[in-house]
Symmetry: C2
Subunit: 112 residues, 2 copies
């Protein structure tokens, strides 16, 4: 099944998972996998949350930022991937000053 994220409409989600500012999110879900293309402007975050029934794999397409994963800050840059296994917790952040590049990522959340 082909999903064209280039031409898909983005939804604006304010304070996603209790985070700062908003996330522009393109997503598809069939109940088994949630597949996402997300964009965080500088200062935007996805709040800390635990993956109770699924895992999440995030691949950084452009920009920089940090993932707080089980209490550890991981530096993110294009070509870096961050994996949150089922039962673990994380928070994604574009911790750059205003005027910096957006953090753009691709993510897959499979029910497991």
């Amino acid at each position: 099944m082909r999903l064209d994220f280039v031409n898909m409409e983005a939804e604006r989600i304010p304070h996603m998972r209790g985070g700062e500012k908003e996330v522009a999110l393109k997503s598809y879900s069939d109940g088994k996998n949630k597949i996402m293309l997300g964009r965080l402007i500088p200062g935007a975050t996805i709040g800390l949350h635990t993956h109770e029934t699924n895992s999440e794999t995030v691949y950084i397409l452009s920009g920089t930022g940090k993932m707080l994963c089980d209490g550890v800050y991981e530096d993110l840059a294009p070509g870096v991937c961050t994996y949150c296994p089922k039962g673990h917790q994380h928070s994604l952040m574009n911790d750059n000053p205003e005027g910096s590049e957006d953090l753009v990522f691709f993510a897959v959340v499979p029910e497991q």
Copy 2:
């Protein structure tokens, strides 16, 4: 968990799943998720295979090609994603002439 695909060593897999030529593959697996960064030169393919116990989500980073998914050819280009649910089959191909761009993709294969 941070996975740095930029600096990870690629493994060369000839005739992957019975396909043509070879795939340069960077991969991580914990038994629950296989996470991959793959590169197909022009003429290289990953042969047709069925996802019996898992699904696969493939995101195209650069280059063009086709996914044959359940008998349907899907055009692939940067920013396009192709999803193969559990129980379905697919084959990935860089069907461009020699000298064309490599097809580079990011993929997640979760056990489900």
